[in-house]
Symmetry: C2
């Protein structure tokens, strides 16, 4: 068995010069929750081709920048937001997705508490938008948004990743409101309570809601260990544990 057809990296580059003319970008889908609505952070596109359209927060990856650093830099530059965990979701690379040339983009998502993370620079045309009803976005950003939303919807059924959007104590009604906002559907009250209870995520606090305009509900919290892992970031929040 001989080492046939070996070539040097330099030779490979020289013979593939037309392959090395792609730019890579990142796009951040930052989901928030407010007034029982799922929202997403968008910015006005700065390209004439998309004049007046909203786009995701994104930028080209710099020549001296690792791919994984770029979304954190973009988020900090555009919003002042730090300490936000971003999850890589999918890479989009249709030939003609960007008018400037071939740009392959990697999409990341995060889920943040709007109250704790109000962007500092809203004057630069960064705004929260309700996800529901959003249609025309720049580039293929609607497809990217939909893909990230689908991933979020899948993950909230498997892992307790959305509890940082609620207070430490919450009622099942508040939790159901949140799930309905993310899933975009109404859930059967009894069935939802049963499924959530079976997951073993919650602790009954033996307390009732106060000062609410409806019949007070019982209050719950997320188990301490899960709260540490999935809300306080001791473990990156979507690293699923396989063997337990």
């Amino acid at each position: 068995m001989t080492a046939l057809h070996l070539k040097t990296a330099e030779f490979e580059k020289a013979t593939h010069s037309d392959f090395f003319n792609i730019a890579v970008s990142v796009d951040c889908v930052i989901f928030g929750y407010e007034d029982k609505k799922l929202k997403v952070l968008l910015i006005k596109s700065d390209l004439e081709e998309f004049d007046g359209l909203w786009s995701l927060l994104g930028d080209l990856v710099r020549p001296n920048e690792d791919l994984e650093e770029a979304p954190y830099r973009v988020l900090l530059d555009r919003t002042g937001l730090k300490d936000v965990f971003l999850q890589q979701v999918q890479t989009f690379g249709s030939i003609n997705r960007h008018p400037s040339g071939r740009v392959v983009t990697t999409a990341y998502y995060s889920l943040i508490n709007i109250i704790n993370h109000q962007p500092k620079s809203l004057e630069n045309e960064v705004h929260w938008h309700s996800v529901k009803g959003l249609e025309n976005l720049a580039f293929d950003h609607k497809l990217i948004l939909d893909t990230c939303l689908k991933r979020l919807q899948e993950q909230i059924m498997e892992h307790p990743i959305v509890f940082n959007l609620l207070g430490e104590k919450f009622s099942l009604r508040q939790l159901q409101d949140l799930y309905e906002a993310i899933l975009g559907i109404d859930l059967d009250r009894r069935n939802f309570r049963k499924r959530i209870t079976l997951k073993g995520w919650l602790v009954d606090l033996n307390e009732m809601e106060e000062d609410v305009p409806h019949r007070p509900g019982k209050l719950y919290k997320l188990r301490n260990q899960l709260r540490k892992e999935f809300c306080l970031g001791e473990k990156k929040h979507l690293e699923a544990v396989v063997s337990n």
Copy 2:
């Protein structure tokens, strides 16, 4: 609110020429199962820099090719395999991961039945390797392999995606062997049976194994609907259903 700072796509490209010199590649992590072992399809690297090392099946994305087409083309070219569903897992983009220049790579995985999908061109140094104990691979392919394995391990606990690796009828012992090979750990027999049963994936056939060198076990099959969705490809096999 005026449309400040609008620029054309052409201007963006002209002012970012040093951003447009990346190549994008795809790498395919093709898992198989044989002799109670999880295997992966590897090829000898054709770069001098990695002389003698094995690498994943991959190639640069062509200038006229969508990202999502590339892994299917690579798999067909290198192995003759068709009709294999490839799932995008993650994109890797450290600055210096490739000696030819900046190459960002998108990894895909698939899980195939080795018996049904024996590559036709094994003479071109494509071989099945046991995943266990694999250490030195070319590029960052060990990291990519580990990442795809972790994704597979997470997904087999949530979705019935591995049943195409077994015959239509199988015993719980055979199923446990398969799960242990993928997870790389021994599972408690009683606990495994309980967890799998609770998922509601299986139908008890009221038949027993025959001609086995141990006490015959009961035979099961995957529910017809799940078999259609996850094995026969009526639904792409990892599209999780959220709302049921």
